[in-house]
């Protein structure tokens, strides 16, 4: 289990991370989402011990990350993948092996073959997307148990995205690998992740199991003959809504049946339909509550 406890990071007098606490279990795929500049990358680099926090700690399997702790269980793919100029995959891997004692060379060759690369290829001459794929292949071959992937799938083509997801899911089942992945491509994360963390301005504003979160929320579309006033009782709450003419689109939390009854009591309701909420919906209404919206 990976525990992040009361993490605070200050850079140049501004608070980049504020009291971040979360736990990630083995086999979890955790989505880290949030507004631009909310601290996703800083959270990841702090977990990787690349930057040291002002307050709080990170613990994995009972071992706290300290100054100089070698994180042989962790692999981090940065958003901007850097490979030294002119070096081949083989020589990069020789270097990686110094840090990952379980480095699996057979797997490396197998994966390079599957993605049509050669061990003598030079990543620094490749495109951004290809670099990401090479980094991902090395990441899987390192046999690390915790994969920290910063915007890995952003900017990859649709075929590569799908292939990478299959490998990630397979690894979480086979080795109970823990995955933390950030992305702005919310729809891609939707059915892959079982947990999510929503960040805004250095804070976690939501942290939940995605299935559980979705069970308590519904997107409800209905038509009424007048202006809609958000209903709120102890058993349900309208988290957000928009009305275009007679059609209202609302996100409701709690007892949906009771909401339907009350709605039909108060309004002349025509159409009434319930939909699943998406991670995108969850993100938008939570950010709106923080005063961050596009309307």
């Amino acid at each position: 289990m990976l525990t992040i406890s009361n993490l605070t990071k200050v850079i140049d007098d501004s608070i980049i991370l504020e009291d971040i606490s979360l736990t990630v279990n083995k086999g979890d795929i955790l989505a880290i989402v949030g507004s631009n500049g909310c601290g996703k990358t800083t959270l990841m680099t702090t977990v990787m011990n690349i930057v040291r926090p002002e307050k709080g700690y990170i613990e994995y399997d009972g071992v706290k990350h300290d100054k100089g702790t070698v994180l042989k269980d962790f692999y981090f793919i940065q958003d901007y993948v850097f490979f030294p100029k002119g070096r081949s995959i083989a020589s990069i891997v020789d270097y990686e092996k110094c840090f990952y004692e379980n480095f699996d060379e057979d797997l490396l060759c197998e994966l390079l073959g599957e993605f049509n690369f050669n061990i003598h290829d030079v990543p620094s001459r490749m495109s951004k997307g290809q670099k990401k794929i090479i980094a991902f292949i090395i990441c899987l071959s390192s046999r690390a148990n915790v994969l920290i992937l910063d915007e890995l799938i952003d900017g990859l083509d649709i075929v590569m995205k799908k292939r990478i997801w299959s490998y990630i899911i397979d690894r979480t089942i086979e080795d109970e690998t823990t995955v933390m992945i950030s992305s702005h491509d919310i729809r891609e994360l939707e059915n892959i992740c079982n947990k999510y963390v929503l960040m805004h301005e250095g804070r976690i504003i939501k942290n939940n199991d995605l299935e559980i979160e979705k069970e308590g929320l519904k997107r409800i579309q209905f038509s009424i003959d007048s202006d809609f006033n958000a209903l709120k009782t102890e058993s349900y709450e309208v988290k957000s809504f928009s009305q275009y003419g007679s059609v209202v689109n609302a996100i409701v939390e709690g007892d949906f049946n009771l909401f339907e009854e009350d709605l039909k009591e108060n309004y002349q309701v025509g159409l009434y339909e319930q939909f699943e909420v998406s991670l995108e919906d969850i993100m938008l209404f939570n950010l709106k509550e923080e005063g961050y919206s596009y309307e």
């Binding site: 899911i169 699943e276 998406s278």
Partner: protein, 164 residues
């Protein structure tokens, strides 16, 4: 505005995936499906993904595209082929177990049940679907007599398919 993400899985892919496992065990039939049977998941549906996986399997099982004692694809195969979190697949399988559509054999996986073991959960939701459809037909001004005629027609069609 709303883009449907439809993941289509031809179950023939699955047959290939699970074939390795099947050849090592004795008691199972190879799932024999002709192409064209699709596994459809729609992320903009009224149903959640696990409910969709559940109902996809229920229709494959009740139409006997998957026959009694056929081996179900493993959670791992379903998760990696459909690219869905394994917990979600697990949840759908648990519901299939609970409703008697499949049974599990410790150590060898999940198998399709005999028809007599199905419980009525899905029947209730099919009735609910019928209720909604009738309501929507009424909204379109279709008369009671016409609805009865339609039901008669669909009943005969459905009976023919089952007798084949």
């Amino acid at each position: 505005m709303k883009t449907n993400r439809i993941i289509t899985l031809y179950l023939t892919i699955d047959i290939r995936c699970i074939f390795d496992i099947i050849t090592t065990s004795v008691l199972v039939n190879v799932i024999h499906l002709e192409g064209g049977i699709m596994f459809k998941l729609d992320s903009n549906s009224k149903l959640s993904i696990y409910e969709q996986i559940y109902s996809n399997f229920v229709s494959l099982i009740t139409t006997e595209s998957l026959k009694a004692n056929d081996k179900m694809p493993s959670v791992r195969e379903m998760a990696t082929v459909l690219r869905i979190n394994p917990n979600t697949i697990q949840k759908a399988y648990k519901l299939l177990l609970k409703d008697g559509y499949i049974f599990s054999k410790p150590g060898s996986g999940n198998f399709v049940s005999e028809r007599k073991n199905y419980k009525s959960g899905y029947l209730d939701s099919s009735k609910e679907e019928l209720r909604k459809s009738v309501k929507s037909l009424i909204n379109f001004g279709v008369t009671k007599t016409d609805i009865y005629q339609l039901v008669d027609k669909y009943f005969e069609e459905g009976k023919d398919v089952n007798n084949k």
